[in-house]
Symmetry: C2
Subunit: 266 residues, 2 copies
Amino acid sequence: MAGTDSSQPINYAPTPAIILCEPQLGENIGSAARAMANFGLWDLRLVRPRDGWPNEKAIVAASKADHVLERVTVYETLEEAIADLTLVYATTARSRDMQKEVYGPEEASATMATHIRKGEKVGLLFGRERWGLLNDEVALADAIVTLPVEAAFASLNIAQAVLLMSYEFRRTSEEGKALPFGDGLHEPAPRNELVGLMEHLETVLEGSGFFTAPDKKPSVITNLRTALTRGRFTSQEIRTLRGVISSIDRRHERPNPNRQKSQKDE
Amino acid sequence: MAGTDSSQPINYAPTPAIILCEPQLGENIGSAARAMANFGLWDLRLVRPRDGWPNEKAIVAASKADHVLERVTVYETLEEAIADLTLVYATTARSRDMQKEVYGPEEASATMATHIRKGEKVGLLFGRERWGLLNDEVALADAIVTLPVEAAFASLNIAQAVLLMSYEFRRTSEEGKALPFGDGLHEPAPRNELVGLMEHLETVLEGSGFFTAPDKKPSVITNLRTALTRGRFTSQEIRTLRGVISSIDRRHERPNPNRQKSQKDE
């Protein structure tokens, strides 16, 4: 799914900060950066990364999300990492039995987007690979966010959780409504060309003896026209289809070498 | 974000088939299986996997999504892999200049869900790691699906794309509305307990000489009551806060060893 257009400038619009608490593996930091970059997030903050920073494995896993890696900030404490934020959500897959609201990703993203529009800074906390966020870290957050995973199989790693939250945030924004391409569909042909195709086909079928029961002919034609209309053919496609019909119609006019050969083999 | 409840049975409800065309790395097949399992998908089909099947690396990367791996089916051709499907979407990050509609993940998921409700079988095609789907593979699909990635950085691997589409499908379904836990918030305390806290605090503040300007007292009280109401405290929290107030209020009644020590140090 690679489709980077490197002529496009990176957009540093306000988006949520992603805060990883004591991440253990550089690969996960890099994959999180890559996930963020795909959906326009760029503010990655690390609290006490186990293997220090910068990290070679993170660079490899980031798959050229260099603009995110270059801006990474590292903190000794979570309190410092979230000091400038006014809205903080903690992501967790486990119930904490804490008096905190639990939101799904859509609701959380909508609230974050509203705060960002008002000029506020928001952030999402993610815990360690092995045991997630500590309760005293969750306590610093305004609310909990969890993903609607299957109870019988709930196993997302940090980078996957960051990817889904980044995607959700993007989806709530204007950019999320715009797809990277629309394949500039050609207009379907004007209806007279479609009717020309239908009449061409019907004339050929008349000649080939297709309409064996004259009383059923009108309904057969209706069904054929219904099927052909559904394709919303372009002018070019109609020309091709008319060529196809003519080609089959004329096949007895000239010898077909394959057909003769296959008959000889039998 | 691990939170599997292994007492829950796996649910094999009808969901889209995920078809990987000539996947090269076992890790990606395994990660795709793990991604699917998180959101209740289980029908994984492989067309000519480069390193054959089964694949050790896939098993490791699947992170115990064994029920998906055990059901994997392998095909020689894409045509065979999609033979039983009535709706097929091709995922791609690149424009193909083909006369095919291009949908975003939400629109595609909604249409897939509608078809599944009618008892039809649907599938999503994903291409090879290096160059995605071939045009003749895309031609077999009803439409194209692409993700709303940043034009300046579009780099999702197969497993990430499978994760996002699986999540989107889940989001459109009933299960997607249900979060795995809600943390069973306690009710906020009845209002008389909150008023009791306010009056307690105000009495203590009266005694401590907090209200220096009598004409401003009503508005100060209004502001305090506004702030305290916003917390939506539980009965337990109100008891704790009243304990806090009493404790501070009584601090001059008994010697504080720390305070005395600190004064001695100075």
